[in-house]
């Protein structure tokens, strides 16, 4: 796990010491390995990332009386609260078909993103002790956050399927389309976690802003309405909001899960190949960009 860099004395270091180090094959530590080796080191630590995520997943609920039941109870209560607010209090005339299921799909799906964003931002600063005692590619930490959130997603998805069935939808093969949709959403969220993790190290204040950004995204991405309905006639703004990555992922999941919503009518969602291409593009690009952005500051992560 050593970070072998070509020996070049930094400011304040003498040529003599560098030459002596080179003579005995000593290397400067704590730098940033080249991308290829970084990925290799990361792969070697995959079991650690997984075990770390699993441990987090377990320890988050271990102290509760109901234990792991909270993994399922938490999203259920969340859905109930949103159902109460948007189903009974803030009622509107133009609700999509099967609103309960519509809402549940939205809330649970965006949970993966907002969880990765919030916890990803904390992943380095909250584990400062770990970063300062042990060597490992720091990307393990945001990745463990993503894995942790994916474990939660498995639980919430089961709940989601049950709720959707209870609202009268029949299980069908199309439901399997949520797997690629979630795969791309996970890539996208992972990329966001990388970016948030690095930015929070540079500027701790960002973690104060994240709840608000999350809220804004929640309201803008059509978790409780269909974006096309609200913003369809707003020209460019409408197009931008419709192209919002989270709206794309939400649409894909809902299209897969809810039969009554498919179509081009006012309260319906239509998807085509472009939607899938956008989903894949957003996911892959965000993940790669986020990862490289994170890797560029490797070696600085212990400083503060």
């Amino acid at each position: 796990m050593t970070s072998i860099l070509p020996i070049r004395p930094e400011t304040g270091a003498s040529q003599r010491a560098a030459a002596r180090a080179a003579e005995y094959g000593l290397v400067q530590l704590g730098g940033r390995p080249p991308l290829g080796r970084y990925i290799k080191e990361l792969w070697a630590r995959r079991h650690f990332a997984l075990e770390f995520a699993k441990s987090r997943f377990r320890s988050a609920n271990e102290a509760n009386r109901l234990g792991m039941a909270w993994v399922v109870l938490n999203p259920l209560i969340q859905a109930a609260v949103y159902g109460l607010i948007f189903g009974f209090i803030l009622t509107s005339n133009s609700k999509p078909h099967n609103y309960t299921a519509f809402l549940v799909c939205g809330v649970f799906t965006i949970g993966l993103f907002s969880g990765c964003f919030t916890d990803g931002a904390k992943s380095l600063v909250a584990n400062r002790g770990l970063v300062r005692t042990l060597h490992f590619p720091r990307a393990v930490l945001p990745i463990a956050t993503l894995l942790n959130k994916l474990m939660e997603l498995v639980a919430t998805t089961v709940v989601m399927c049950v709720i959707v069935m209870l609202t009268g939808e029949m299980p069908q093969l199309d439901w399997l389309l949520i797997i690629p949709a979630y795969f791309f959403l996970a890539l996208f969220s992972g990329g966001i976690a990388f970016v948030a993790a690095r930015l929070t190290v540079h500027l701790r204040d960002i973690s104060q802003l994240i709840p608000f950004i999350n809220r804004l995204i929640f309201y803008l991405s059509g978790v409780f309405y269909i974006v096309g309905n609200r913003f369809g006639d707003r020209g460019i703004l409408g197009k931008v909001i419709e192209a919002n990555p989270l709206n794309v992922y939400l649409s894909l999941v809902r299209y897969a899960m809810l039969e009554g919503i498919r179509g081009t009518g006012p309260n319906q969602i239509s998807i085509d190949a472009t939607t899938w291409i956008m989903a894949a593009g957003y996911g892959v690009v965000m993940f790669v960009v986020g990862f490289i952005f994170f890797w560029q500051a490797e070696g600085l992560y212990g400083r503060d």
Partner: protein
């Protein structure tokens, strides 16, 4: 002097490893245990080397084999950025500008210089003790040698992969001892198979009763937790090993066993660094001592000289 004030508060410069339980029982009086002082030490003491470090004395004594360097530390500076609050921490400007300076809209980053220009070379077979008061920069120096804290200026060159003997930060209190052994092993860089094959050894060494391994670690007593952490950490051996306040864990029996284990690790490792306030520990395990104060190297030499000068200065 403001910088030193903040760094000597301890929380900034020392308490980073997440291992907070390893500091029990370091108050052993060291002065009595020492052999007859050597002339060099007397000279050092006479020159009045104090904790303020007015004079920097280097006594190079030939201790241990001197063929192969394993760690070269060259003019190393390490600083921390701290967003300090309060009047003291904002320094002289605060006094000039009065109230306004105390509540600025954007707080300026304050730099704490934990290590300020340390240079030395460690050789194969060296066991180097680091002594100094709290907040003198010992732990930071260790972290910099381990490559965990980046250097602001200067450089650290090292053989292979220096490892800190500490795993506390990776463990999770809500999980059982068993899961923590696996998690800790993986955190130290073992493969899954290695962890599985070493699992029994780790558990045996810790001496914990099997039923405790099923309980969450937060139910453990301080000593039990320290035993398990030490057992996990000491299960790996590396060429350059850094031990930060890990020697005094558990009860006496476990203390003996861990000292033995450290000696083993020392033999298999090329170079060992030991940070401890328990000077007897250092006299027992080391052949060379670095005395650090306020981030600077005050003295570097054989155990007897340096410890002699250090206790003299501390006691005065």
């Amino acid at each position: 002097m403001t910088e030193q004030t903040s760094s000597q508060n301890g929380s900034v410069a020392t308490d980073r490893s997440g291992e907070d339980l390893e500091t029990i029982g370091q108050d052993a009086p060291p002065a009595e245990e020492k052999a007859a002082p050597k002339p060099a030490a007397k000279k050092a003491a006479k020159k009045g080397v104090g904790p303020t470090g007015l004079k920097k004395i280097k006594t190079r004594v030939p201790v241990g084999p001197r063929e192969r360097p394993t760690v070269i530390v060259d003019n190393l500076h390490v600083t921390y950025k701290v967003y300090a609050t309060g009047k003291r921490a904002t320094g002289r400007n605060a006094e000039k500008k009065g109230l306004l300076a105390r509540t600025p809209g954007v707080r300026r980053a304050h730099e704490v210089q934990a290590v300020r220009g340390i240079s030395f070379t460690a050789y194969e077979g060296d066991a180097i003790g680091l002594v100094g008061t709290n907040g003198s920069g010992k732990s930071t120096l260790c972290q910099a040698i381990a490559g965990l804290v980046p250097a602001k200026r200067g450089a650290v060159y090292s053989e292979a992969n220096p490892t800190m003997l500490g795993v506390g930060a990776a463990l999770m209190n809500d999980l059982s001892g068993e899961r923590n052994v696996i998690l800790g092993g993986l955190a130290l860089g073992m493969s899954l198979d290695e962890v599985k094959s070493k699992y029994q050894d780790i558990v045996d060494f810790s001496g914990l009763k099997p039923e405790f391994l099923d309980y969450p670690m937060r139910t453990y007593s301080q000593g039990m937790g320290a035993r398990l952490r030490f057992s996990i950490a000491a299960s790996v051996s590396h060429q350059v090993l850094l031990i930060d306040e890990a020697l005094s864990v558990g009860d006496r029996l476990f203390g003996q066993r861990s000292e033995e284990r450290i000696r083993e690790l020392r033999e298999s490792a090329g170079t060992v660094f030991v940070v401890s306030h328990a000077l007897p520990t250092i006299t027992k395990t080391c052949n060379r001592v670095l005395w650090i104060d306020q981030g600077k190297l005050i003295m570097d030499g054989g155990v007897d000289e340096v410890i002699e000068a250090y206790t003299e200065a501390e006691g005065a």
